[in-house]
Symmetry: C2
Subunit: 411 residues, 2 copies
Amino acid sequence: MRSVYLDYSATTPVKNQVLAEMLPYFNEKFGNPSSLYGLAFTSKDGITLARARVAHLIGALDTEVYFTSGGTEADNWAVIGAARAKKEKGNHIITSKIEHHALLHSCEFLEKEGFEVTYLDVDEKGAVSVADLEKAIRKETILVSIMLANNEVGTIQPIKEIAAITKARGILLHSDAVQALGNVPIDVNELGVDMLSLSSHKIYGPKGIGALYIRKGVMISNILFGGGQESKKRAGTENLPGIIGFGKAAELAEQNLAEHIETLTTLRNYFIGQIKEKIDGVTLNGDPDKRLPGNANLTFDYVEGEAVLLYLDIKGISISTGSACSSASFSPSHVLTAMGIPIEKVYSSLRFTIGDFTTKEDLDYVVETLVEVIAKYRALSPFGKENQMKSAQSCACQGYECTGCDCVKKG
Amino acid sequence: MRSVYLDYSATTPVKNQVLAEMLPYFNEKFGNPSSLYGLAFTSKDGITLARARVAHLIGALDTEVYFTSGGTEADNWAVIGAARAKKEKGNHIITSKIEHHALLHSCEFLEKEGFEVTYLDVDEKGAVSVADLEKAIRKETILVSIMLANNEVGTIQPIKEIAAITKARGILLHSDAVQALGNVPIDVNELGVDMLSLSSHKIYGPKGIGALYIRKGVMISNILFGGGQESKKRAGTENLPGIIGFGKAAELAEQNLAEHIETLTTLRNYFIGQIKEKIDGVTLNGDPDKRLPGNANLTFDYVEGEAVLLYLDIKGISISTGSACSSASFSPSHVLTAMGIPIEKVYSSLRFTIGDFTTKEDLDYVVETLVEVIAKYRALSPFGKENQMKSAQSCACQGYECTGCDCVKKG
């Protein structure tokens, strides 16, 4: 059976060149970078190169990149660190309803500490309104945090326009670029952000490593305390092989960026086109143009997304209903809900994310399997077009072991 | 030239069996553990096994082990998380002056947030007095945090005795076991701790991964917010290969523990014996018996420790003056200072830490080189015995390029 991975937004495999560069740092060049001998200097040199590569990918200075344990820590640090550092100036933060939970839950934590947070609505394409954002600014506003591209629907936000506003008012601007990195060209100076969250495992680097870009001159408080690593801003022995891998992945992402975007966009459009041609009652969620190249978030009317996901898994296809982080929870996607999508359509939505190892043949296989499963499940659904009112009984065996819902046939 | 690594307390190389087990998780079994398909379940299974292995090494339940980005995050989480969770009950914390900076700086952060912290003195062997600790307890005391073994001098603290006191008073007890793990037998129930910080890269596992043991029923606040990973206690996509590696390292540590302790203790005693026999004016810092098996922290009178360190590096030997985290700073060791060691002896101290790849021949080479360098530097020192009052000029070229201070001869 063919095995097709279409969940690149959840995580990516580590590329061979990346792993090859990491390997010596596990047991040969393993010195603690904070030590004072040759072996340690080799580690330090490796980190210096990796930092330069990550910085270069986003047009930053090397000294503006601070490694973290991942995108979540970067988001937490940006928002909590900025809030603590600026609390004398004000207590108001603006963000959006479709941010990653790492951002939203950090904001909720800050609310308990006395900060006020405005959660901006988004339009039906998942975009933040620059006018709404401007209106939400108060004299107490110290921070705006809007993601560069959404993880579920791929919508790219107008960060540059937002930066023009925050800059004029002396408000810090943070953007979660975890999904955007390596998928759209990023230049921190062109964007005008003060902070940018990055993650390695979304760009074919290892898990457990990320970074926060902090513009030179911007002072935020630390959130992890200890040794003087990362210019005394992020304590803890450096995740050396992780950093090396992130650096190599960043270099590869920069080298391949134009080709990667073109290939993925072509494949994605082909995929969406094929699905729309072969299956009716399908809607593309998010912005058709201002979206991540690999993202296809689709609503299949009258079927339950998770049931389809589990069926596809049996067929060797890996996809998700929304973000990986909330896959295991039963709450509906906060992103699709914020976009005004009705609850039954939210539960009928699936996220397919294409990456560097995806082929046209993979997509053809997924389309073919989708045609099969959607027809099957619609036939069983009490709301399915072909089967409307015919049966009130829907598939009961939606668990992982389900081999195609013949429980209905048997019953 | 022989290459001898004697800084195992700073970090350890990843063992081959550990790396071998990690490798498939970079690009084959790379699924995001939070996703809902087979590839993700494989990742989740890997984490489950790793968690069980780490738990088993410390006698904990699997569900009491939460993975973090390392020992620093574990220390931060334990102290800040416990303080936040218990703040209604009281605002007083007791720790010691010789804790790791991850602990001390977390306490300093909490002091700014209104908590009061007692930093206990230690005796000349680096041990906390249980009587002093008991006296320091107030009705507002919510947390005691004392490390299991010190990272600089290796002194093992009387945690079991401390636990008897904290338990009777309903005070939480945390212990930083980063250095003790894999070097002394640990059973959380026998010790009686409520929380225990662990790190992978000190036990031949990868850097960038650690864990916090939290006893069942103990509630502490989160410090990183986002997805629902680690039973909703520690957000962020799991560092999958890191966790797998930590698990395997924990398994190996448990299998080898008795042999490891015996071998290291024998080697260390041989090393200390040889040095004391061949070099005069040498003192062992810390407790001669209640100490980590691999630790030899020694003061060499009349020489500057860092100069010796750099000389040894040229001879292929990697050691440290104190903890790796503060190697790059010029401030004297807070541990040796707290033990009442005079400042000039603090600056004359070196930490040699022996590990699983150390051989007797390695140690003979280090002793031989030490004999050479100590004699050389003492001869140059204005305070050196053989050279007392002979020269007021000391070596000026203490940098990395120094090839033996013939700048003095030339001058």
